[in-house]
Symmetry: C2
Subunit: 233 residues, 2 copies
């Protein structure tokens, strides 16, 4: 089957898993005759198909069905079309990433600097994880249907919000104030995702150097924000 750490896509526990919210939103089926294939199976199959050169919009319904080992028409029992599946995948990837980064932040809530570091490292770690979930968010941001793009945008905005709150908290702990924290959060988020898109196509050996670079960039942004705040007052 398909096992992802963090219990995002379980081996197959009859009833899907947590993370859900959208995965099988109606678990109130009487008995479920014989649920051969599940939404999660299709999501997993899709993840296997998208590689460095394949984006979601180029994956066909039949391919997914083939990969999942079902007849093409069985696909319709789970999703109306590839677009619906894609959106589900994006939401899954977003919530998963936020969970993981959130845990990383809690783990290292000491100085502003080390939090940045740990978050960036965790991000890159996810990038290399074999579930490819992050890949979805990284490269599907610009293409696809409207619903598609809105889904990506929504996830990134969630991410921004959580980051903004964290940044404010951290700055306060250091007795400082940030200039335009919302913009800082947005800049950091977009920059990290853009750099992640670069990293994904590079050999993993360069990851440490990239982590270094990204961390420096983020320090520039945050330091600059502090400086501008001082100027503004």
């Amino acid at each position: 089957m398909y096992i992802v750490r963090q219990g995002m896509i379980q081996p197959q526990p009859a009833v899907p898993s947590m993370t859900s919210t959208l995965v099988s939103p109606t678990p109130d089926m009487p008995h479920a005759r014989r649920q051969g294939i599940s939404r999660d199976d299709l999501l997993a199959a899709t993840l296997k198909l998208i590689g460095p050169n394949r984006s979601l919009s180029t994956v066909s319904l039949r391919e997914v069905a083939r990969e999942a080992g079902i007849a093409p028409n069985s696909f319709y029992r789970q999703f109306r079309d590839m677009d619906e599946l894609s959106i589900a995948l994006i939401d899954l990837a977003g919530s998963s990433l936020r969970t993981i980064i959130g845990q990383a932040r809690e783990r290292a809530t000491s100085t502003e600097r080390s939090v940045i570091r740990v978050s960036v490292e965790t991000f890159m770690e996810q990038l290399r994880a074999d579930d490819k979930l992050l890949h979805v968010l990284l490269r599907e941001g610009a293409v696809g249907s409207d619903g598609f793009k809105h889904a990506v945008e929504r996830e990134l905005t969630y991410f921004e919000d959580e980051l903004r709150i964290d940044l404010i908290r951290l700055a306060a702990a250091d007795g400082a104030t940030l200039y335009e924290p919302a913009l800082v959060a947005k800049a950091i988020t977009r920059l990290v995702f853009a750099m992640g898109a670069i990293a994904i196509d590079q050999p993993p050996e360069r990851d440490p150097a990239l982590i270094e670079d990204i961390s420096t960039m983020l320090r520039m942004i945050i330091t600059g924000s502090h400086a501008l705040e001082r100027v503004a007052n």
Copy 2:
């Protein structure tokens, strides 16, 4: 036909145009029997096809031929396949953008701050231009064949290099020094392109606000770089 300002795709001056380098790289044809369709025509047709929801990798050879008004097979006279055409398009978009931004920089080489402003404004202007050339660079960065992605990466790197040189020059004119100018240039470039990708899907009314936001972000980065340089010494 298809006219783009800056003479990127000329109305049809027998021999293509400048910008070339890659457009018709062998102009040493004896007389050119009867050149009904040109590479530029196909590029223009492709630009018409890619919209907010279409990426280059989802445009088919036949579609381009149809849009250009030629038989599918005639396509092969100009490009081996869509991949080759896509790369040509990317190179065209990149060199065009660099020219335009370069001119904008020269036009306003006063203070560091105004240069940023003018560059960002020019960038957004291009975003709304009707030739959609910038769109190619914005949304094709993450998907497609290897040659494809390398082409995008190459153009962005060119962009970074020119920006870095400019940043150093500007800082020197202000009697300051930048911390890690290469990283600053990279951060700015990637951030601007990422924000551009957001802008493209928003109504143009929000452009002014976005320009404001982006400018602030860039000021944070540059201010931060100055600050870090001071700390480092």
